[in-house]
Symmetry: C2
DNA sequence: TGTACATCAGTGAACGCGCGTTCACTGATGTAC
DNA sequence: TGTACATCAGTGAACGCGCGTTCACTGATGTAC
């Protein structure tokens, strides 16, 4: 299988879009054997090129992995932003949807998720990678802002704290139970249900019951 | 450095306690370069023996890693149980302490934590490993039981759900911010504070305010 | 439109290296009597 | 207490293998005129 800009017809001496193909290869191999389970040579073989070819596009294996993580964060940020949809039709509905999207991403793209959160890719060395990661978190942060804005000013918790709490909870559930691969633990309920209940209880603890939210909605 | 049962004096043709030494080597190397960052030969070298020696004690690298994870869960379970101390002097105090112990373990033993939760060691193939993991969770579960028992019977949430929520939150914070190594993200507060606030808000959401708890304590 | 040339993105052979694993071996330890 | 022997837990040499990386190369593509 080949991944060329011009579809699968790209052939011949020049691959056409080897960089993309290597990223896809890495994702495929990570999904199979984990982020440590592939080599530069593996990726080349998977893409159908000689072992020297990847060097035209990536300095080394780590650079390839970092690029995978960056793309992962970008797709993640896009998915989250689309799901949040600026809080429409109302903040509570959108917030719930956001959490489900987070879990769905971890399940649908375990390879990306691994590269982003578990492969030990250092965030601070690559500017684009760090920015992509921050963009993703910014969506959560913005959602938390809108959420605390529902509350009376004197009772508002810091939005950053709320965002971090929800992020941690969701990431925890995703890592422990919500993965598409074999490392996950079994659970007597759906991860989505577990998350939804947690968020409801947490928001109630903030004084943001469904009643308050419903009242604000009108 | 050698790790023998008889202290550091073990020498000579027979190592004395190579199995322990290999586990320590693995921990050291995992802490340095992550769970994927060491080889069987590395471990042997670190322990000061020939590359063939580890085969007397472990089938292969995976078996060594699984043993590390098992020991990690056992130490984890012990630490958690000791910290929980059957809910003394009162359930809320002990519960808070339990969370702090969880985070402290992840920070103090990042290598164990990696092997347990991130190395992709399959839980279901090794009976002892699975049991150790279940023993650790059982402590959390028991604590959640005592916690919900503080509440009036008609308002009690399932203890299992509470345990899973707290586990997820704590694991999420530990993975994202609370690690002793370089992969952690920076945070404008201590992970412990973040966790404490989350748990307080969550419990309040369950209807278990500090007032209720204090009332029960008397 | 054709041609000459520069650049790009691959090839494939080669290298040194370290890994996993096996093997016959051997020094150290434990035990029966 | 001494001796003979079995077992244990190491050695060290060897092997085949695949990896990372470099290199001169070459086919394909793009561009100036």
């Amino acid at each position: 299988m080949r991944w060329g800009k011009r579809g699968h017809a790209a052939r011949g001496y020049h691959h056409g879009n080897l960089k993309e193909a290597l990223v896809h290869a890495a994702l495929e191999l990570i999904a199979e054997k984990g982020p440590a389970g592939f080599t530069f040579a593996d990726a080349a073989r998977w893409a159908g090129v000689s072992p020297a070819a990847p060097y035209r596009h990536f300095r080394d294996r780590d650079a390839l992995l970092a690029d995978v993580a960056r793309r992962g964060f970008e797709e993640f940020a896009t998915a989250l932003a689309k799901s949040w949809d600026e809080g429409k039709p109302d903040v509570m509905t959108a917030f719930d949807r956001l959490g489900k999207t987070y879990l769905a991403f971890a399940k649908r793209e375990p390879a990306y998720y691994s590269a982003m959160f578990e492969a030990g890719v250092p965030l601070d060395t690559d500017r684009e990678l760090r920015e992509a990661s921050e963009t993703a978190f910014a969506v959560l942060r913005a959602a938390a802002e809108k959420l605390v804005a529902l509350m009376p000013p004197q009772a508002r918790p810091p939005a950053l704290m709320v965002a971090l709490h929800v992020w941690s909870m969701t990431h925890g559930i995703a890592s422990l139970f919500g993965r598409g691969d074999a490392a996950r633990r079994t659970l007597p309920m759906q991860p989505e249900e577990l998350l939804e209940a947690a968020v409801l209880i947490y928001l109630r603890g903030l004084g943001l019951g469904l009643d308050t939210a419903a009242a604000k909605r009108r």
